[in-house]
């Protein structure tokens, strides 16, 4: 009886591949060893022990009555942050639609690269940079935040919308044209019903992202809860930092939960 040859899941390596494999392994291990021996592990920091700082961030704000009564103030800031994100996404949703149609290959054909380039350019710039520019342009406050969020969201939403448009089924457009409908009617009854649920789903998802993003925007003066947060960290007011973080975590979790539920129903 002849023994069957052993089957391995991976294709056997040739001699050349084996040599490359060992050379690469050698270089990588050399890098790791070098890194372990040369990185300094000494900690330079403040005299306060980390444990004490953590206690002040997470325990004191929820146990000390003096701090608990201050929560409404930060909830107010958080609501402003959410409002910034909401306004930003609302503007972005509307503005992203024409750009998306321009960027969709099956709608604008060879002109689609214009739309795609616009969207790529927007996405290449971080929203913090937009925030700094808009704070300089329109002054400190939530208005700058809304502008920064909206421009930045157009980049992502436009790209996602364009992909949705590219994946539509054109057959029912034929059906409407075959029954004598005009171009606008074909768009309205053939294209929009197909893309709208996904458009809104992506917008809600982007709103989630923007709530998190606009908490940070306050750092550069674009309104919201970021401003008190950065101030409190500079002053080592760990109790305030803790309260702000708790508010942010709670609100972001609630929003994620709700938006997840809505999006499940939409698509």
């Amino acid at each position: 009886m002849s023994e069957k040859p052993k089957v391995s899941l991976r294709m056997a390596m040739t001699k050349k591949q084996k040599t490359y494999f060992y050379i690469i392994m050698f270089i990588l291990s050399a890098l790791y060893i070098n890194a372990f021996f040369t990185t300094s592990f000494s900690v330079s920091g403040s005299a306060a022990s980390p444990l004490e700082t953590l206690r002040r961030i997470f325990i004191v704000p929820i146990t000390n009555m003096d701090y608990i009564v201050q929560f409404p103030v930060y909830i107010g800031y958080m609501l402003e942050t959410i409002a910034i994100a909401y306004a930003g996404v609302a503007v972005a949703t509307i503005l992203a639609i024409p750009v998306a149609f321009l960027a969709a290959r099956n709608i604008s054909h060879r002109f689609s690269y214009i739309g795609k380039s616009i969207l790529n350019a927007i996405r290449a710039i971080p929203e913090l940079i937009f925030a700094i520019i808009f704070v300089a342009a329109v002054g400190i406050g939530p208005y700058a935040g809304v502008l920064a969020i909206s421009i930045n969201s157009i980049g992502m939403l436009g790209k996602l919308y364009a992909e949705v448009i590219e994946s539509i089924d054109k057959s029912n457009i034929d059906a409407i044209k075959a029954s004598g409908g005009n171009r606008i009617q074909a768009m309205w009854y053939g294209v929009l019903p197909q893309v709208l649920p996904e458009f809104s789903s992506y917008s809600i998802y982007r709103f989630e992202i923007d709530v998190r993003a606009s908490t940070v925007l306050g750092i550069v003066g674009a309104g919201g809860i970021g401003a008190p947060l950065i101030l409190a960290t500079y002053q080592r007011n760990w109790e305030d930092v803790g309260m702000i973080l708790i508010v942010v975590v709670v609100f972001v979790s609630i929003i994620d939960l709700i938006s997840g539920k809505i999006r499940k129903k939409l698509v």
Partner: protein
């Protein structure tokens, strides 16, 4: 009422879809077009509502040469020629009733239709037509919840709501199982009889063609190779149309009722 006069169609790649077609269809006839795939059945049907445009000849509908029609006349022509597709072509995320009303768009002003303000009598008609194909209770259900046979009935209701003079059905049952195919064909035949609509249907199953047609037109390589009433059709006729002996796969079977 529909007359093809020396109609030919050459595609830009040089392929001849139709070759010198001469055909006269009378009002209220239920005509089945048979032929193998690639014989030009779809091209013939789609010429009538100008989804494709023949390159030569004249195609008369109600005495007018539709090959000369421009944008506006074309839309009017298409309101008069309703089309049923193999893949139903419904918007799956819209309700059945909205899909049926999509057939009414050609009769409705752009702004009105965008706002969804259809006249009450049109909505009544849509409901009546859904009732005629037996799915009235599904009016507010999303189209993707329906089975294939039900979706094809929705598209029949959509065509009827368009109030056409002609129904063009391009392989209406090719995506359905045999029993459902027969039910849909029976519905289609019944409503076209009731409304006295000229109906052209593409089929590639010969037993179906024999069962439902008043008249059969056979196509091979873009040419009409047979045209005659159903009582003149025998198995031999199909062998001539197909250019080969009839095989098991040319038969659908499965009519239980």
């Amino acid at each position: 009422m529909i007359e093809f006069k020396n109609v030919s169609l050459t595609y830009p790649n040089g392929h001849q879809g139709l070759k010198n077609i001469n055909l006269k269809l009378n009002e209220g006839e239920f005509v089945v077009i048979v032929g193998m795939s690639g014989a030009g059945k779809s091209t013939l049907i789609r010429s009538i509502n100008r989804m494709v445009t023949p390159t030569e000849g004249e195609l008369l509908l109600g005495g007018e040469n539709i090959l000369k029609f421009k944008e506006k006349q074309l839309r009017k022509l298409r309101t008069e020629a309703g089309m049923i597709f193999q893949n139903y072509n419904l918007v799956k995320r819209m309700s059945v009733l909205r899909n049926v009303m999509a057939g009414r768009l050609g009769h409705t002003g752009t702004l009105r239709s965008m706002l969804g303000l259809f006249p009450q009598e049109d909505l009544q008609m849509a409901m009546d037509n859904l009732e005629r194909v037996g799915i009235k209770e599904k009016a507010y259900v999303r189209a993707d919840q329906l089975s294939g046979g039900q979706q094809q009935r929705v598209s029949i209701a959509r065509v009827l709501t368009q109030q056409p003079k002609v129904i063009l059905a391009d392989e209406p049952v090719a995506s359905l199982d045999p029993p459902t195919s027969h039910k849909v064909m029976k519905d289609l035949k019944r409503v076209s009889r009731e409304d006295n609509l000229t109906t052209l249907v593409n089929l590639h199953f010969i037993d179906m063609a024999q069962e439902y047609a008043d008249r059969i037109v056979g196509l091979r390589d873009g040419e009409i190779v047979f045209d005659g009433p159903i009582d003149k059709v025998t198995d031999k006729t199909f062998e001539e149309i197909y250019g080969r002996p009839i095989k098991e796969e040319d038969l659908l079977g499965g009519d239980e009722s």
